[in-house]
Amino acid sequence: MNIHFKTAWDYIRRSPFQALAVSFVLTLTFFVTTLVSVLVYSSSKLITYFETRPQVIAFLKSDAKDTEISDLQHKLALDTHIKDIKYVSKEEALAIYKKATSDNPLLGQLVSPSIFPASLEFSVTDLSFAQSIIDKVKGESIVDSVGFTAALGGETSLNDVVGRLKTITTYVRIGGIVFVGLLAVTSLIVLLVITSMRVVGRREEVEILNLIGATKGFIRSPIVIEAFIYTLFGVVLGWAISFIAILYLAPTVVTYFGEIPILPRDALGIFELFGIIFVIEIFVGVVLALSGSLLAISRVKKVR
């Protein structure tokens, strides 16, 4: 075993309660960080879902000719704020209705394609453009009426829906980040206190090492390694607990949100998401360990 690692490990073994205290705080920090990261991911997926699904449906007049429909479709396609334009014929509309009422087949049998209007469905690249596009499409001669599918909480306009969604997401993100920030600062302080105690406790050893020609790097290495052990322990344990918790809750959450993909649907996607979070947390852990230990060393030196 490397001499610096051995020294660090010996110090951890000699004061297990200090080690446990700092490890648990770091574990809690990275546990919450992982959960907040997933929450941020899910909220952004939620927004993307509402922004990219066919939000606007232009119901066409029954006497609209194919050429007129084709012209309108072409005209919409030229608008850079509009995407995914799809023509839904009367027959397709009936099929959608029948699927929606499949639990009561009688409802499907009572209607014919003629009562369903054909429509042009499309998405907008950004929901903030939606209202102006709807107004523009309403002015088209072959368009009977225009509706939108993103209706939440009884809002009357699409802008309200967008506003509400974005506000909720912003609050979730800011709240999460502030909470994680507070925990990170707490972790840094605890790490700083424990490391300072180590430096003070090693004063005699540091003096001896200085006299026999040890470099600063040699003297500092075990302290930095010890901080690394704590943070890596915190990252791995915090990440693993939240990973298991999310895996456990995933089926319920996915079922509850239905077609909204707030979590990756396949195992590979889940592993990819958590893999990215893990790599970022390792990086944050390294920064935390380095800054905490080096700050403690310089602080103790100044006080001396």
Binding site: N2, I3, D10, R14, E204, E205, E207, I208, L209, N210, L211, I212, G213, A214, T215, K216, F218
Partner: protein
């Protein structure tokens, strides 16, 4: 390098003050390579100050201290550790790491000089055998006697194969028999070509071992 002419240890008009107290007053002497020198004098005469100046623990207020061609005063913060690695030091209060075994105490010195870990066991074994500590290899300092602790300190100093060995009152805490055995060891090491500077006020040892004496009284050299 002109170290042979001016000595591996060269002090020229060295003055060291602690506030208004003059610890060394215009001290000049040279120690040749392979020489064994006793620095004697009463407590507070300036013996330890000389050793600390050699080790770079203190810097002279005036004059020149050069060791093996290095002017100690000009050594930067980065050069000082490298410089100290060339000097072995045996301390009166042993300065062994209390939470490491005898073998680990010696190995630490090897780690400090950056010797590959694969070479440690041979070197540790060799110096512990030389110091007569083979049976104490895995014991902790708290399990050793004063004489044994001093030999650990000596083994650690020797492990890095230093050009110069400094010993600050190495027999100060030991009885006569143990001191005598330790001195035999120093003599053996000196015969292998190491330069030894030993600060001591133990006149019996000085008389018995008949080496060059630099006697300091009140910060000045009375006899060399």
């Amino acid at each position: 390098m002109a170290t042979d002419e001016i000595g591996i240890i060269h002090f020229k008009n060295v003055i060291k003050k602690f506030g208004s107290l003059v610890a060394l007053d215009s001290v000049s002497f040279d120690v040749k390579k392979g020489e064994f020198v006793f620095i004697t004098g009463p407590s507070g005469a300036g013996k330890t100050t000389i050793l600390k100046l050699i080790l770079g623990e203190l810097t002279a207020d005036n004059g020149e201290v050069s060791i093996d061609g290095f002017k100690v005063a000009t050594l930067g913060e980065k050069d000082l550790p490298k410089y100290r690695q060339k000097i072995g030091t045996v301390f009166q209060d042993f300065k062994v790491l209390p939470e490491r075994t005898v073998a680990e105490n010696v190995a630490v010195a090897l780690a400090v000089i950056g010797l590959p870990e694969t070479e440690w066991s041979f070197r540790v074994e060799h110096v512990l055998k030389l110091a007569g500590l083979t049976r104490a290899t895995n014991l902790f300092p708290s399990q050793l006697s004063g004489g044994e602790l001093q030999r650990v300190s000596l083994a650690r100093a020797l492990a890095v194969n230093p050009k110069i060995l400094l010993a600050d009152e190495p027999t100060g805490n030991l009885d006569w028999d143990t001191s005598d055995k330790l001195m035999d060891l120093f003599e053996k090491i000196n015969k292998e070509g190491k330069t030894i500077v030993m600060a001591t006020h133990n006149l019996e040892i000085v008389k018995k071992y008949k080496k060059r004496i630099i006697n300091i009284v009140g910060g000045t050299i009375e006899k060399s």
